[in-house]
Amino acid sequence: MITSDETRNISIAVVLLALAACLPWIGGPYALTIGVTIVMFTALSTSWALFSGPTHYISLATAAFFGVGSYVTAIGIGFLPYWALLPIAGVIGAILAALVGLATLRLSGVYFVIFTLGLAELVRQLITYGQNKSGTKGLYVLTNINETMIYWQLLGLCALVYLAGWLIGRSRLGFALRIIGDDEQVAKHSGINTAAAKIMLFMVSGAVAAIVGAMLAPRYVYIEPAIAFTPMLSFQVVIMALLGGTGRLWGPVVGVIPFTFLWEAISVSFPNQTTLLLGVCFLLIVYLLPKGFVGLLQAIQRRSREALS
């Protein structure tokens, strides 16, 4: 059953996606570059928030999944058609997420954060080791896929993420996750398999991050572990999602857009202090907007309702 509110929201989403799809015809090459960054982080942050929003587990594993996805394209492009590689990257990302989930989701928050941060580093070191053994340093990804095609692919993936998020939100699984986020003891004693629910959502975000990595590999042309597994990516995804707010499906994108421009300004003006400034941004966001723009908006709505009544 679909309510009138939902029909309205879906219509808005479809119109916005259609408008976003027109960017390559309207904007110049610079706008397209920014556009790719925005849709990439929208897919990553939104899928990250699907898992971390309700469960409050902060995952820093995005770079691990992203890097694995890039390597699927880099290694597989010589053997398989490009389109076959995207689902393979998704499946590998989901399997990796399931393994990490089984190993760590029973742990409490802090241990999970550290483990996921270490995971990206671990996979990077493994690949570096493998490359040193075989004598290659990096891999060339030579395709005829251009920036416009990457943009559309990522936008399509965003649409899928929103669709998945909406369907999960309406499902038992979505309800189970909200209960887990509120009180895990109650969830267990109400008959919810909390570990399975968390792992399923973690698999979704792992699969999406791996597919994003696979889609972006042709853009980099040359892939090496330091590029594919940069921990900065994981932190950027967390900051953007928190800036937007994880309580709503549309929250992360509201953080992604301003942060992408901010980041662009920082990279241009202070190219040597990016990490420092990323940390400062993180602190400011957590202090000033603990619930992101979504929380701010809800507070304003609440206040105006109280003022009216």
């Binding site: 038992r172 309800f175 909200r178 509120d182 009180d183 109650v186 004693h189 008959g191």
Partner: protein, 244 residues
Amino acid sequence: MIGSPVLSLRGATKRFGGLVAVNDLDFDVTEHEVMGLIGPNGSGKSTTLNLISGALRVTSGAISLRGSAITQMPAQKIARKGIARTFQLVRLLPSMTVLENVKAGAVFGHRRRWGAEADDFARRMLERVGLTRQSGMHVGQLTYIDTKRVELARVLASEPEILLLDEWLAGLNPTELAEGIKLIRSLRDEGRTVILVEHVMDAIRALCDNCVVMSSGKKIAEGAPEAVLSDPEVVRAYLGDDDA
């Protein structure tokens, strides 16, 4: 009247390091019975309830529901098998409305519902505990007894075979207590099987068919409330040697 046992504990023991919180406990709960689990503070009542609900696992011994072992099952499986509980300190879902809180039981419990059916059933359970008007409220807006009612409705919504009520009547003022006893009595009149951990003696006398008295983790008496409450060993456990 002797019915078939729904729940049986045999030699149930729980050790926390050197402390034996529950020591070789045996008892049966029969169908349609309200059983009181009573005893002084620290006697292991809540631990026993935690063993039954799967919040804790027994160190040794066996627990079975209608003859099938649930001893090593995790809490979510036990909940699905049909044992639902309330918590000593009320646990509600703070981000949700009263109706959604109750729906949690209807959606994931012993009998699983979804969609409009779950909403309807949750509403019926709210009506059952007398909270129809509050269904759209957030749980932060409720009075203390109403939070307890929400928790009870959530448990009822899962249609359990056995309800475990952990000091559900504790902390209520005299008026609320009378209402609370009436509510639990109505559950008893419906023929539900209930285990209640309770300190309020009036409630025990009014509600229980049968009592198990625990002291220092052991069962020291079992029987009808009046009989066990006048048992010298029970009096000694509560009040010390001088008064026995």
